[in-house]
């Protein structure tokens, strides 16, 4: 009980208070602890914890294959992916490059020409000056995933009397060096898959919007109207919509709201048509064609919706969330909230 409950609670309270006061108290040691040490400790613990996670994932997938659970075939892919990533990260670097040294003045230009052509470099003179300036040999700006690829490229330089050596990027650096097996996997398999998942959002947003915009009640109608105005106001076509279209839409909107109170359809129809005629005649007589009032421009209405009602709503939400976070943090720091420790 002492180790499982009291010690973690003690650590939570002490570190919580220290972190809180570190934001206000003018003390370099406390500030350094909050800004650097504490975050580094967290990173170190999280780095070690990743072993627990990955081993758990591997164990579950292997068990699924061995026990032939439903859809066990997918687990083969998961285990293979894991194994290949480990192989590329820890056992096979790739990231080979060629270092050329001892280049004569006579060979300088043809080598620069060849490299510019083969590697699609832009400036031949830069290559020449780089080769002449390199004291410990010139590193050809191309990284080869395999040694045989590097050797094949070296064969093209064999006709020149130069020293060539194949080297590899250091362990660790190879993870980010373009041309290593790991980076190849990252850019050619992982990134497209991630982008695909992200792209799915577009379709999901469409289906979610459809559901949200279905007219069921007053709020949903308001959402639909605001959504349409926002969408129109943010595209160039919104600026081309003339004032009289907006005026007619406003009359329709007012009509829709007042419809439940006007039972006689003829009177209602007359009021709407009369409203439109009145609105348009006032507009044309006041010269709104040349300078329409701001309230009848879609981009202006869109800006107003975005700047005032939306901001007000989202800020109210944020204040509530911030207070919730403060209250939860307070409960954790003073040790009242212990549910996350399993109590």
């Amino acid at each position: 009980m002492f180790l499982k409950r009291h010690v973690p609670l003690f650590i939570v309270v002490i570190i919580g208070l220290l972190t809180l006061f570190g934001n206000f108290i003018d003390n370099d040691e406390v500030k350094n602890f909050v800004d650097n040490d504490a975050t580094q400790w967290f990173d170190i613990i999280a780095s070690f914890a990743i072993f627990l996670g990955s081993l758990n994932m591997l164990k579950l997938q292997i068990l699924k294959i061995i026990r032939k659970h439903k859809n066990w075939q997918y687990s083969i892919l998961a285990v293979l992916g894991f194994a290949v990533a480990i192989f590329a990260g820890f056992f096979y670097r790739g990231a080979n490059y060629i270092v050329v040294s001892n280049v004569n003045e006579i060979n300088l230009l043809p080598i620069a020409e060849l490299l510019t052509d083969e590697l699609h470099l832009e400036n031949q003179n830069t290559v020449i000056s780089n080769i002449s300036d390199a004291k410990d040999g010139y590193e050809i700006p191309k990284i080869f995933m395999t040694q045989s690829g590097a050797e094949a490229f070296m064969e093209k330089l064999d006709k020149f009397d130069v020293n060539m050596e194949i080297k590899s990027k250091k362990w660790g650096i190879h993870l980010q060096a373009k041309g290593s097996l790991f980076s190849w996997i990252f850019f050619n398999i992982f990134t497209p898959l991630s982008s695909t998942m992200f792209a799915l959002l577009a379709f999901f947003v469409a289906s979610a919007s459809y559901r949200a915009f279905r007219i069921r009640n007053f709020e949903a109608t308001l959402l639909l109207v605001s959504g349409i105005i926002l969408m129109l106001g943010r595209v160039p076509i919104g600026e081309l919509i003339p004032w009289w279209v907006v005026a007619i839409l406003i009359v329709f909107g007012v009509g829709a709201i007042s419809a439940p109170w006007i039972k006689d359809k003829k009177i209602f129809f007359g009021l709407v048509v009369g409203g439109i005629v009145l609105f348009l005649s006032v507009g044309f007589s006041m010269g709104w064609n040349q300078s329409p009032p701001q309230i009848l421009l879609i981009p202006v209405i869109q800006d107003w919706i975005f700047d005032y009602p939306t901001t007000a709503g989202s800020r109210a939400l944020m204040i509530g969330i911030a207070l919730g976070i403060v209250a939860t943090s307070f409960r954790i720091i003073v040790g009242i909230e212990r549910s996350f420790l399993g109590e």
Binding site: I25, I45, L52, I321, T328
Partner: protein, 351 residues
């Protein structure tokens, strides 16, 4: 309203007095031939009398809250003393953080005060929160259908309060699944969260008297990467078709991917998050959504422990104070812009 009329009138009177005194001290050095310095006595007497009348009215109408009002007044006095004297002595605070610290202290004091009140036996009413009530209904539905329950605690680590709140709710969901003997599946994206979630589930199953139903692998790690995690969880949903899905934690762009997939398999969905930008997606795609602070009150709501309920009440009082401060700031800033007062209250919030 009638009950509060006297309190509101006296509060407005105090506000007007403060503004007039401030104006007199800063702008008019004398009034009807009297030097303003000679009027300090009158100012203090009239202000004290009005304040006394206000406190008396509050203590008569709200005897339970008078201690809280004294707390707030004491706090304001301390802040004023600090601001007056503090400029002559070396501050222990980082420059510009005094106001923030004062606010943190006020909020903490208010929370502590209401926690103590709740502990002393005062009954606290919490309005029904549909999303929390529906947890049992969702787990019951899963049991009836013979399917599992999926709980997603978000993609952030344990350093986020939302994740901690998610784990607190996981404890309750796990206890309910243990009681109903329904399957529980908790895919996580952070190893530390995995360990904490396992501990929470183990304790919940033990509390429900069904430790035999618990196994470690009900909480399992998928990956740290956002979209790979979303793909993994979506895969679980499509293959296993859980009857109930809970999304309680911190979410980013994957929220809609998860909620829409859950919607497509016909699961009953309950979501809650502290990310304001993701709430609309959850509201659209889920059956119940814990909006804003509702998500953080879950622990108190479900446990019904007085000390936790007290903090919820304190949180609401702080919200009331924030509203009052906003109105007060608006009025004072308006007066400043009109040139009636010399102090710009907005400067307080600049640091």
């Amino acid at each position: 309203m009638k009950k509060n009329f006297k309190i509101i009138s006296l509060s407005i009177l105090i506000l007007i007095q403060l503004i007039i005194y401030q104006y007199l001290i800063r702008v008019e050095s004398s009034i009807l031939g009297w030097e303003i310095t000679n009027l300090y006595f009158v100012i203090i007497i009239t202000f004290s009398l009005t304040l006394k009348a206000l406190l008396k009215t509050i203590s008569k109408q709200y005897p339970k809250h008078i201690l809280g009002v004294y707390f707030i007044i004491a706090f304001i006095v301390i802040v004023l003393i600090y601001r007056t004297i503090g400029i002559y002595v070396t501050s222990i605070f980082i420059e510009g953080t005094t106001f923030k610290f004062s606010v943190v202290a006020l909020v903490s004091m208010t929370l502590y005060y209401y926690i103590q009140k709740a502990k002393s036996g005062e009954k606290i009413y919490l309005r029904p929160i549909a999303g929390l009530k529906a947890i049992e209904e969702a787990v019951g539905r899963a049991t009836e259908m013979g399917k599992s329950v999926l709980f997603v605690p978000g993609i952030s680590d344990l350093d986020q309060v939302e994740t901690v709140s998610g784990l607190i709710l996981l404890g309750h969901v796990a206890e309910t699944t243990a009681k109903y003997e329904a399957g529980l599946n908790v895919p996580v994206s952070k190893s530390i969260v995995m360990e904490a979630a396992r501990e929470t589930c183990r304790e919940s199953y033990l509390r429900a008297g069904r430790p035999d139903l618990y196994y470690d692998d009900m909480v399992h790690y998928i990956t740290d990467d956002q979209f790979a995690y979303a793909a993994g969880v979506n895969g679980i949903m499509v293959r296993e078709k859980p009857a109930a899905c809970f999304y309680l934690g911190k979410f980013y762009a994957e929220s809609l991917l998860l909620a829409e997939t859950g919607n497509s398999i016909g699961a009953i969905q309950i979501a809650g998050t502290g990310s304001p930008s993701q709430i609309p997606f959850f509201v659209t795609a889920c059956d119940y959504t814990l909006i804003g602070e509702e998500f953080f009150t879950a622990s108190a709501y479900l446990s019904k422990k007085p000390e936790l309920l007290g903090s919820i009440k304190g949180q609401d009082i702080v919200k009331g104070l924030v509203m009052a401060a906003m109105i007060f700031t608006l009025i004072l800033n308006g007066f400043f812009q009109a040139g009636w007062v010399g102090f710009d209250i907005v400067t307080l919030f600049e640091n």
